[in-house]
Amino acid sequence: MIRPIENNTPTLIRRVPILLFILILILSASAPNGYAAAIPSDLRAIHVLNRLAFGPSPGDLEHVKSVGVDKYIEEQLSPNSISLPATLINELDTLSTLRLSAPELFVEYGPPSYHGERGDKEAIQRARQRARVIVEQATEARLVRAIESPRQLEEVMVNFWFNHFNVFAQKGLDHLWIGSYERAAIRPYALGRFRDLLAATAKHPAMLFYLDNWQNTAPDSPGARGNFKGLNENYARELMELHTLGVDGGYTQEDVITLARILTGWGFRRPGQTLQARAAGFVQTQRAENFSNNNGFYFDPNRHDFSTKVFLGRTIRGSGIQEGEEAFDILAQHPSTARHLSYELAQYFVSDDPPKSLVDRLAKEYLETRGNIRSVLNTLFHSPEFWDEQYFSKKFKTPYEYVISAVRAAGTPVTNTRPLLGMMAQLGMPLYHCQTPDGYKNTQEAWLNPNAMTQRINFATALAAGRLPLDQPPVGAMEQMSEAKRTTADNQLARNGPVDPTALIKLVGGTLSTETKAAIENSRPAFRAPLILGSPEFMQR
C-alpha cells in the first residue's frame, strides 16, 4: 500500500506518477512480493528473524533492515553465500568426533566385542562411558551453531529435518552415530532435494539401526539365520507414515509388508563381518568402500527378497538394491508426500493450523520442482499467508526455540552449553533424545502447560541476571577435570554480567504489547531484562 505524497507545487503534481513509480520501486526493493509492504519495517524484520532464524541476536535487526527482507530471505536460502565467523569455525574444529564417519566411530568407540575382547558388563560400561563424548560434541556443535551461525535458516532446517527423520541417541549403537547422522545425512540436504535427503537417511547406520531395518531379512533367503531370519516392518511403516506419505497418505498394511520386502538386506556391515574381513586382509578395500563413500551402508543380496513386487499399485521388478531406489522415487514424488511435507513446513513457518491455500500452493511447487526444498521454502516465504499479520508472533516456541532465542537475544557468549541442554530436557525436549520416530511437535498444544511456564520464567530470570554458568569451560574440558576442580568450576560465579534491558527492548520491543511494556517500565530495573525474556510475547515467535 502506498501513502499519498504531499506536495504543493504544480510541477511536482505533474511528476506524481513518476514519483509514485519511484516509490513503488523503493518499497518493492525491500519487499517486492508486495504482501509485506504495508507492515512497518521493524515488524517485518523481526518476523523474518523469528521464523527464518531462532529470533534476533544483537545486530540482526539492523542487518535485515539495511538489506531488506527479500535480500535477507535470499541470503538465508543460499547459506554457502554467508561466511561463518572464524570463532565459530574454531569452536567446531575442536570437536574431533564430528570429523569421523560412522564406521570410524564404531571402530574407535564401539563395543569391546568388536576388538575381539570379551564383552563383560564392565568392559561394555567402560566403552559406553568413553563414547559419551560423541553425543556431547554433537549437542555442543548443534547448539553453538544454532546460537551463533549467521546461516540461521540452515540451522532451523537442520533441526526441522532431524525431527522429521528422528533418531534416538540412546537406542543401542545410535549413541555412536547421532552426530555423523546429522552431519552426513541431514545437514548437506537441509535445503536440497527431498529425494536425496530421504535416501541419505535411509542408508545411514543410525536410521538403519534405530528402526531395525538392518535386521530386515527375506525369510527364505540364503543369508537368513539367527536374528536375521525374517521380515521386520518397523522402518517400512514409519518411512511411509512419518517420512513420506503421511498416515492418511493412502497405503495399506499390504504396502507396508511389500516395502519391508523391498528393503530386505539394507543394512550396514556388522562387527562380525568386519572382523572376518580384517582376518582375510580385506581391510584396505573395505576402508575405501565403507569409510569414504557410504558411511558403512551395505546391501546384503544374500538376505534380499528378489521377487517382483507390487508397491502402491506399481510393479517393481525384483532386482536388488535398485528396488529400494525405485520405491524412493515413487514415495518422494507422490502427491501425498508433497502434501504431508507442505503441511509440516506451513505448520512450522506459519501456523499450528496452517491455511489450506498455502499447503496446496507448496504441494504444487514441490511436485513441479521434483521435491526441491529451497524452491518450496522460497514460495513459502513470499506467500501472502506468511506475511499475514494475523499469524505474526503466534507460534508458541518449542523449548529448543525458546532457549536458543533467549540466549541469542541476550547476546550472552556461550562456552558451556550444559545449562541450556538441562533446560530443554526439563521442558520435555532433550536434544537427540526423542525416543519415538515421530520427533518433537512444534505446536502450542504440545508445549504450553503450567509447568513449562514456571520453568521458562525461572530460566529467563537466571539468564537475564547473568547467573547461568554459560561461560564455564566447555563440556569436554569439564569431563577431563578432576572431581575437585570440577566442583570449584561449578562454584565459581559466572562472569557474565546481567543482560542490559535497554538493548533487549531495542531488539524485541517491537513485539511487546503496551501492557507488557508498561509492566516492564514500572518494575525494578533489575527485573526488566528477566521480564522481557519471560514475557508472553517472547514465548512466541
Binding site: 528402526l211 531395525d212 535386521q215 530386515n216 531379512t217 537368513a224 536374528n227 536375521f228 525374517g230 521380515l231 521386520n232 516392518e233 518397523n234 507414515e241 498416515v247 498394511q253 507396508v256 550444559r418 545449562p419 538441562g422 526439563q426 521442558l427 520435555g428 525436549m429 525416543q435 519415538t436 515421530d438 502450542q444 498444544e445 504440545a446 504450553l448 502447560n449 503450567p450 509447568n451 513449562a452 511456564m453 514456571t454 520453568q455 520464567i457 525461572n458 530470570t461 537466571a462 541476571a465 547467573r467 547461568l468 554458568p469 562454584n491 560465579l493 507488557t516 509492566a519 514500572n522 518494575s523 525494578r524 527485573f527 528477566p530 521480564l531 519471560g534 514475557s535 508472553p536 514465548m539
Partner: protein
C-alpha cells in the same frame, strides 16, 4: 555469591517450591470434597506385547507362533505365574502377584480399539480422545471427565507426571503437570515473592499463556509444599525406590494428602519391541519388572486411599501373535488392559478369548479385539464416579455400552 544463592538462580533442576509455613499440607489435608474416589491412568506408549504380559499358556498356537520369545507354562522353569486355567502372568511381574491374590488386580484380555490403525501415534490419539477413527476431537477423555465431576474446579484436580501435558488431559478444564524427579523441590527464582509479583503483572489475562502461568503457580504452592514435607519424612525412613517407582511413590503421597486431586496420569515408554524382545530375560522383561515395581509402589504410597482408587493401565494396540524374523514382534491389534484398586473385583481375567488359530486372528495375524477399551473406561467411570448416562455420553461420546461381565470389574 554463595553456592546456595547461586543454585536458587541456576536452573539446572526442575520446579522450585514455596517454603512451608501455614500453607503446609497438614492445614489443608481435609478438603471440601468428601468423595474420596480417584482414578490413575497409566499409558504404556509404544504398544506393549500383551500376549507376553498375560500369557495364554493353554493355547498351543501361542507356542508355535513364538518359538523363541514365548513364556513357558506355569510350573516349568521360568514359566508364567499361574492366574487361572488358561492364563499366566509374566514372571517379571511377580511384584504384582500379591495384588492378584488379594483380589485387587484384574485384567481384560483381547481388549483394545475398534479402529484398525497400526500407527502408534494415531492409535494413542484415539485412545486418549476415546473417539477411535476421529482425529478432529479437540480434547482428551480425562479432561472431559473433569467437566462432569461435581465440586469446584481447581488446577490440581488433574495432574500428569512429567514435563508435558498429554492429549488425554488436554481440553477446557484446568489440568497441570509436574515432573516429580529428584530435583523437583529445589528452590527457584519464581519462589521469591517480589519476582513472582512482577511476573503476575504480565500474566493476568485470560489468554492461554496467562492461564497456564497461574495454574503453574497454584499447583506449585499446593502440591510441592506437601511433597517436601513427605520427602523429609521419607528421608528418615526407608531408602527411596529406583527408576520411575520413585516418582510413582511421590504421586501416591500427593494423591493421599491432597484431596483436590481426582485424576492422575503418567506414561511410560519403551514397549516397541521389534527386535530382541526377550522371553524371561531381556528388553520386555526388564521393562515389565520396572512397571510392576512402579505399580506396587504407587499402591503402597496411596495407603488407605488405595481402596478408593482405580489404576487403569492401557496401551495403544497389541503386537503380532507371530514373532518376527528378529525375535521381536510387530504392530498388532488386540491387547490386555490392567485394572488395579481396592474396589476392583480382581483375581480374574475378564473378556472373551477369541483364540489364536489361523481363522480366529484379526486380519490373519493379530489377536482380535472382543472388548472395546471404551467399555472398560465407561464401566470404571460409572462405578467409580457414579456418572449418569448423560454424563458418560459427554466423556465417552457414542461409546459402546459395557457388557455385563465388564460392569462387574469394579464394585460400586
Amino acid at each position: 555469591m554463595k553456592r546456595r544463592e547461586f543454585l536458587q538462580l541456576t536452573l539446572l533442576s526442575t520446579s522450585g517450591l514455596l517454603l512451608l509455613g501455614e500453607n503446609g499440607w497438614a492445614a489443608k489435608a481435609i478438603g471440601d470434597d468428601k468423595n474420596p474416589k480417584r482414578l490413575v491412568v497409566v499409558f504404556l506408549r509404544g504398544a506393549v506385547d500383551g500376549l507376553n504380559v498375560v500369557v495364554p499358556y493353554s493355547e498351543s498356537s501361542y507356542y508355535t507362533s513364538r518359538p523363541t520369545i514365548a513364556i513357558q507354562r506355569p510350573a516349568q522353569n521360568g514359566g508364567a505365574l499361574k492366574l487361572d486355567q488358561h492364563f499366566g502372568l509374566h514372571p517379571a511381574l511377580s511384584s504384582l502377584m500379591p495384588f492378584w491374590e488379594k483380589g485387587t488386580l484384574a485384567f481384560v484380555h483381547a481388549s483394545g480399539s475398534s479402529d484398525s490403525s497400526r500407527s502408534h501415534f494415531d492409535a494413542q490419539d484415539y485412545m486418549e480422545t476415546a473417539t477411535p477413527g476421529l482425529k478432529s476431537t479437540p480434547d482428551g477423555w480425562l479432561n472431559r471427565l473433569l467437566d462432569v465431576l461435581p465440586g469446584t474446579r481447581s488446577a490440581t484436580e488433574a495432574i500428569s507426571v512429567g514435563p508435558t501435558l498429554p492429549r488425554i488431559l488436554s481440553g477446557r478444564a484446568a489440568a497441570t503437570n509436574l515432573p516429580l524427579g529428584k530435583a523437583a523441590t529445589r528452590p527457584m527464582p519464581l519462589d521469591r515473592p517480589e519476582i513472582q509479583e512482577a511476573f503476575d503483572r504480565l500474566y493476568k489475562g485470560s489468554d492461554p499463556l496467562s492461564v497456564a502461568y497461574r495454574e503453574g503457580q497454584t499447583s506449585r504452592k499446593q502440591l510441592l509444599s506437601e511433597l517436601t514435607e513427605e520427602m523429609t519424612m521419607a528421608d528418615n525412613g526407608a531408602p527411596s525406590a529406583v527408576g520411575f517407582a520413585d516418582q510413582a511413590q511421590k504421586l501416591g503421597w500427593l494423591i493421599q494428602r491432597d484431596s483436590t486431586i481426582k485424576v492422575a496420569f503418567f506414561a511410560l515408554g519403551g514397549w516397541d519391541t521389534h527386535i530382541n524382545q526377550g522371553s524371561v530375560a531381556g528388553q520386555l522383561p526388564n521393562r515389565l519388572k520396572g512397571l510392576g515395581e512402579t505399580l506396587s509402589t504407587l499402591a503402597q504410597a496411596l495407603g488407605p486411599l488405595y481402596s478408593d482408587t482405580v489404576i487403569l493401565v492401557m496401551s495403544e494396540f497389541g503386537r503380532t501373535v507371530h514373532e518376527n524374523g528378529n525375535t521381536g514382534t510387530d504392530h498388532g491389534h488386540g491387547n490386555v488392559m490392567w485394572i488395579m484398586g481396592g474396589n476392583v473385583r480382581g483375581g480374574k481375567v475378564y473378556g472373551q478369548w477369541p483364540g489364536l488359530s489361523g481363522n480366529e486372528l484379526y486380519e490373519g495375524r493379530d489377536l482380535a479385539v472382543t472388548t472395546d477399551f471404551r467399555e472398560i473406561v465407561s464401566a470404571v467411570l460409572e462405578s467409580q464416579f457414579g456418572l449418569s448416562s448423560t454424563q458418560l455420553g459427554k466423556v465417552i461420546p457414542k461409546g459402546p455400552k459395557p457388557s455385563r461381565d465388564i460392569r462387574e470389574v469394579v464394585r460400586i
